[in-house]
């Protein structure tokens, strides 16, 4: 059960980090980039937000994995990859709301000092966008923990896979699922809540 738990945690954390790493630049391209790039980001977001992650995982693992076995035949990779990109699409939207909320003023002030657009984004906008987004990021993280259970379908040995083994071995269809449920709650709530509290405190301190 513990291996399953750590796999679930790894898939979620890695895909969350992929989500931040891609989602932040995407949000800024969508907000400040030129039109063609904006459309590109929009298409990416629609693709990964519109298609169920189960379909995406099966598509990449069985479909694309057939032609590009390396790396898509690695189930752990494919699960993290799909959830990571889905999370990037979600987080891009979360960050975009923050960019709009913080407003153009901070960018104008930064450029009045002679900072380039990229530096203004990096030094002035990004830290604020991150703090502004903490409630959304907290729920995005919970979503990833829960959605990582789909990885079970493409043979990743995470909480659900192990739960299923235990169910088969003991013919008990209640206890294993209750334990799994409890584990998911333990994985989501404390971190999401901590994130939210930290964010609210920071926001209050900065008057954001």
């Amino acid at each position: 059960m513990l291996t399953g738990l750590s796999t679930t945690l790894f898939i979620s954390i890695f895909s969350f980090l992929i989500g931040i790493a891609l989602g932040l630049p995407l949000a800024f391209i969508r907000s400040y980039g030129s039109k063609p790039y904006q459309i590109l980001v929009d298409v990416f977001e629609k693709f990964f937000r519109g298609i169920p992650e189960l379909v995406l995982m099966l598509l990449f693992y069985f479909g694309i994995g057939l032609y590009v076995p390396n790396p898509f035949k690695n189930a752990f990779f494919t699960a993290t990859f799909v959830l990571g990109l889905r999370s990037a699409a979600n987080q891009s939207q979360i960050f975009r709301v923050a960019i709009r909320g913080i407003g153009e003023e901070q960018m104008v002030a930064a450029s009045s000092l002679g900072l380039s657009k990229v530096k203004s984004i990096f030094y002035v906008m990004m830290p604020q966008v991150f703090i502004f987004s903490t409630p959304g990021l907290g729920s995005e993280y919970s979503l990833l923990i829960k959605d990582s259970s789909y990885a079970f379908v493409i043979t990743v040995v995470e909480i659900m896979a192990i739960t299923d083994w235990i169910r088969k071995a003991t013919s008990d269809a209640v206890t294993p699922y209750l334990i799994a449920a409890l584990l998911y709650i333990l994985l989501t709530f404390p971190i999401a809540t901590w994130f939210d509290t930290w964010g609210s405190r920071k926001k209050k301190q900065l008057g954001l």
Partner: protein, 250 residues
């Protein structure tokens, strides 16, 4: 000898429906303080932003010393690094302390070392008498203190000129005094400034020239005495009468 620091020639700013600045020309020499005043919505802020190239003018030329900023392919970031700008609504970076706000451009525009930037930033904060507040975030400062940080942020780079867009008008009346005092100190040091303001006693004291601006044009220019005793244009007369009446009430 007079050395030109900033000049605009035949400057226009046209938005979709309104023309905010119409064919404006003005020049500021080294050490001069010029003060723009006029009714709200007359295009003063737009003019200032065009001069700092924060908004590109539609037509006309802007010069910073010998460099024409309105030509294509000018490195505007480099030019803006030499222009200080103080905003009406202050716009400090909320996630940085007072010191962080002042340091940012020193570190990442002028590329100073950490220690050098810190020293220079502290010096700028000393000039606005906020040394002890260096570690505070903007939200922990009063409006007047925030604006003084805004001024320190603008002057830390030793810019060629500082443009101030109504630096006191968003503040509570009892907080304007400290900001005005700071500006008075800058004036004494010979800082070149273009200020949009309606603080008339201050204007009378420090301005070399006052510029009355209305509906996108310069209506009248002259030394402060001209406006306080005998404005030439009827529009300026009416506006001055209203301002003086208001100042007396306060």
């Amino acid at each position: 000898m007079t050395i030109r620091v900033m000049e605009c020639r035949n400057l226009w700013k046209i938005y979709d429906k309104i023309t905010a600045v119409k064919d404006v020309s003005l020049k500021i020499n080294e050490g001069e303080i010029k003060l723009i005043f006029g009714p709200s919505g007359s295009g003063k802020s737009t003019l200032l932003r065009c001069l700092a190239m924060l908004t590109p003018p539609t037509k006309g030329e802007v010069f910073l010393r010998d460099e024409c900023l309105t030509k294509p392919n000018v490195d505007l970031n480099k030019a803006r690094a030499r222009i200080g700008f103080v905003f009406q609504h202050i716009w400090l970076f909320l996630h940085l302390t007072a010191l962080g706000n002042v340091e940012l451009a020193l570190r990442h525009v002028l590329k100073m070392s950490k220690n050098e930037a810190r020293e220079r930033a502290m010096q700028a904060l000393r000039e606005v008498k906020l040394e002890e507040w260096a570690k505070h975030y903007p939200a922990q400062l009063s409006g007047g203190q925030q604006q003084r940080v805004g001024i320190a942020r603008a002057l830390a780079r030793n810019p060629d000129i500082i443009l101030l867009d109504e630096p006191t008008s968003a503040l509570d009346p009892e907080l304007t005094g400290e900001v005005i005092d700071t500006l008075r100190d800058l004036a004494k040091k010979g800082t070149t400034m273009l200020i949009v303001s309606h603080e008339m006693p201050f204007a009378r004291e420090v301005a070399d020239e006052m510029i009355f601006f209305d509906e996108g044009i310069i209506v009248e220019t002259g030394p402060p005495e001209q406006f306080f005793t005998n404005p030439r244009s009827e529009r300026a007369q009416r506006f001055m009468a209203r301002l003086i009446k208001r100042t007396k009430r306060e």
